[in-house]
């Protein structure tokens, strides 16, 4: 199965790195959508089929925490897994996110192996 993935991060560098790493991890991708903040991410989620959201935390206008909260509070989107990809150093804060409903947290800098292992676990399939 190939995934429709939404990458939400205000850094174009990070969005490019995630796309590159998804390819290196041989994750099957049907389409990638990008958003520079949580507000745009929610708009894209409302307009497109999305199987997985990869989200940063600290973004202008709307950060990852608020975006995740809204995704999980809406009937039409709460089934979409959210994986946080962040430089956030606090284990306590990351634990709070998982309590909020994020399926997993990946620390930056991330490797293809970390992406692959996490997505295998979250999406429930093995790609390699």
């Amino acid at each position: 199965m190939a995934y429709h993935i939404l990458i939400v991060d205000d850094s174009m560098t990070t969005r490019a790195m995630i796309k590159r790493t998804l390819a290196m991890a041989e994750i099957p991708v049907a389409q990638i959508h990008e958003a520079a903040n949580g507000r745009i991410g929610l708009e894209k989620l409302g307009k497109h089929k999305i199987d997985l959201v990869l989200a940063d935390l600290h973004m202008p206008e709307m950060g990852g925490v608020e975006m995740t909260r809204r995704i999980l509070s809406q009937e039409t989107t709460r089934h979409v897994p959210v994986v946080v990809i962040s430089a956030e150093p606090s284990e306590a804060r990351l634990a709070e996110l998982k309590q909020l409903g994020a399926r997993a947290c990946i620390s930056k800098p991330f490797t293809p192996e970390a992406i692959r292992n996490t997505l295998n676990e979250v999406m429930g399939v093995k790609h390699v």
């Binding site: 850094s11 590159r20 600290h58 430089a87 150093p89 620390s107």
Partner: protein, 145 residues
Amino acid sequence: MSNPLGQQVASAFGHALETMAFISPEPIELVSEPPRDAVIVQLDFTGGAMAGIDLLVDRTFGHVIAANIMGEEDLGFAGADVLLELINVTAGTFLRQSQCGSTEMNVPRIAPFAAGEWTSFISAGHTSFFDANGNTVAVRVRGEK
């Protein structure tokens, strides 16, 4: 560079650059002058013992990293963005490794660096120097509060 904090931030920087852009920075001795077209990239901390970390690099180094990441020549707009992300990742790694998870990271910023400030830059804080694919990089953890 013998200070533990300096070593930790240097290690965090190396790890970030290698993982993000497949560039392995080599430690070098103190350099006598800053890069020619230098920019200073800074990220402040809140709530911890340290004030923040800084990177001092040639502006063009951002384009080099961007090209490595994006697999094509940087069109000119990604250089600053990549340096901001590099310090963001370096700071997060540094705080995790030094077990300062309660310290908060502020939004990073970038600005031109005046050569006249070089002496005061290298004398304030714990500074490490690297050669990264021919580019000189200074990495500093700024003052214990």
